[in-house]
């Protein structure tokens, strides 16, 4: 195991890590369906379900126990991924990411159990939602680092004629956009788990106004809901700025496509947020809103990881090379 430029991982490794990342995404959707259908407490016990491994899959049990079954399968896959990464001698960082993903998904299972046993306290349920996105980011990064694209990127990035200042700016914007998206996901989790999804019943206005007034603020959930919908515009602006900055680095392979995907996702996510309100929290709309939020976050994480990789491979030019004053000359 090394931490430098590794050999291109074999096809089974690439397939395994990609499958794990996609499975984690499907698990996120399954979790979204549990909350969106109000099935979070359809199974009152944990880790068993009505004292069994397999209760009757009726009503809300289908969603809650289905989520548990998918989670158990995905957790096993994330565990096996460590073995694959270890035996196939991937680089040390990727292996460590694999360990972190397994630790995070086990912690995630415990949070899932806690939130059921304590009847869905918003703090624990929101932490469960937030940690899910960390697991997704870890597995997506592992899939990226073991992909053929990563190898090609490693070869091509140092040769790409890219101005250092542009790359640094794009890197900073990608980090800010990813961070803001994660904060927005946590705000969304609070809205979801405090039942504040329709606390403000209209969109884009709030109670027919730009900003709620007077007694409207005293209504349960209005503050969290308003923060979520207002911060969404800040996130959208950061994502657009970061995506446009990525487009200026089109000499580096893959960044232009990622930029287009990122812009598409942010537009779709705003539309789904609005649709969630307009449809009175239709199950499909709120679940899709959570899923696309996850993809938006992953796009930011992958952009940041790729730009960090490009910076490692092509370090900043020495001051003399760019013609800066030589303070210590002579």
């Amino acid at each position: 195991m090394s931490d430098g430029d590794q050999m291109t991982p074999s096809r089974p490794v690439r397939l395994a890590t990609r499958t794990v990342a996609i499975s984690v995404f499907l698990l996120l959707i399954a979790g979204a369906l549990v909350t969106s259908t109000g099935s979070g407490l359809a199974v009152p016990d944990w880790p068993l379900s009505y004292g069994k491994l397999m209760p009757p899959m009726v009503g809300g049990i289908l969603y809650e126990h289905g989520h548990r079954m998918i989670a158990a399968t995905v957790a096993t896959m994330v565990g096996l991924q460590i073995l694959v990464l270890g035996f196939r001698r991937t680089d040390r960082t990727t292996f460590r990411l694999g360990l972190a993903a397994f630790g995070a998904i086990l912690a995630q299972a415990v949070l899932g159990g806690l939130t059921v046993l304590f009847l869905l306290p918003p703090a624990i349920s929101s932490a469960h939602a937030g940690l899910a996105q960390i697991v997704f980011a870890l597995t997506a990064t592992i899939a990226l680092r073991t992909s053929l694209f990563w190898s090609r990127f490693t070869d091509a990035a140092p040769r790409a004629a890219v101005e250092h200042g542009l790359r640094t700016r794009a890197s900073r914007l990608a980090l800010w956009a990813a961070g803001a998206t994660y904060v927005q996901i946590l705000l969304g989790a609070i809205v979801r788990h405090t039942g504040a999804g329709l606390a403000i019943p209209d969109w884009p206005l709030s109670f027919g106004k730009v900003v709620p007034t007077g007694a409207e603020w005293a209504t349960d959930g209005v503050l969290a809901h308003f923060l979520h919908r207002t911060f969404a515009w800040a996130v959208a602006a950061l994502v657009v700025a970061a995506a446009l900055a990525l487009r200026k680095l089109d000499a580096i392979p893959g960044l232009r496509r990622l930029s287009t995907l990122w812009l598409g996702l942010v537009a779709l996510q705003v539309a789904l947020g609005a649709t969630s309100v307009w449809t009175g929290k239709a199950v499909w709309a709120t679940s899709a809103h959570l899923a696309v939020g996850g993809l938006l976050w992953i796009a930011g994480v992958l952009a940041a990881v790729l730009l960090a990789r490009a910076a490692t491979l092509s370090p900043a030019p020495a001051a003399a090379e760019v013609g800066e004053p030589q303070e210590a000359a002579a």
Binding site: D45, L48, G59, G60, L62, A75, L106, L117, F118, L119
Partner: protein, 268 residues
Amino acid sequence: MRTDFRSDASKSMKTFPASRPLWGALVPLAFLIAACSPNAPEAPKAPAGPAGKLGTAVVAGRVTLEGAPPLNTRVTMATDPFCNGQHPGETELPEVAVGPDGGLENVLLRVTEGVSGVYAAPAEAKTLDQKGCAYSPRVLAIMTGQPLEIVSSDATIHNVHAAAKENRAFNLGMPAPGTRYTRTFEKPEIVPFRCDVHPWMRAFVAVLPHPFFAVTAADGRFEIRDLPAGTYTVEAWHEKLPRQTFTLTLADGETATHDVAFPSVPSA
């Protein structure tokens, strides 16, 4: 200690093995966590203070809905074959249940002002059943400390989730017909009950510190008995309609009649 999905009466039933490899690491932790779970019954506390008095006055009347009944929620129960068999096709939920002559069912009438003293809870339990994938009754009133027996008559699985705020909330599994639990509530509040397996199932258990309450029957009639002479404020509570109150003064042995009319709303 673990969270027990089984009824109080069926704890001698066999337990299920939990030692599958995947769960192996999590089960001990889960049991530890379950020890702190809020599902265990709360120990009843004896009320303190001077004893409240009973009298011979009665307030009776009828609750009606003025105007057209609102549109109740319509659901299909296709997610559970048993429930779907009981209620095929689309079913209207009895959120605002109005009889043919305008009588409004499931309205709680409770004295909110004028009662003093501490009243001992009856030992007799009241029963909340799950029958035909619905709670029966939908609105039930008990006294603080009075046993509430929760039973299931359905040949399907239910959970009983009491979303109490003042009392301890709980969530119990009702995996088979005949499952039975007994719980008490120590503080007054209206506790919403729901089944998360069948999200259309709703009930409301009003917990009151005195015996002066009634819930309207299908014809909207109610009767609050055993009131001592005095002046009282009575509140009429409905799960979907704005509360109504009235005040009246009663003499010993008097039976006063007071009807209540709720204004209709566009939809339930």
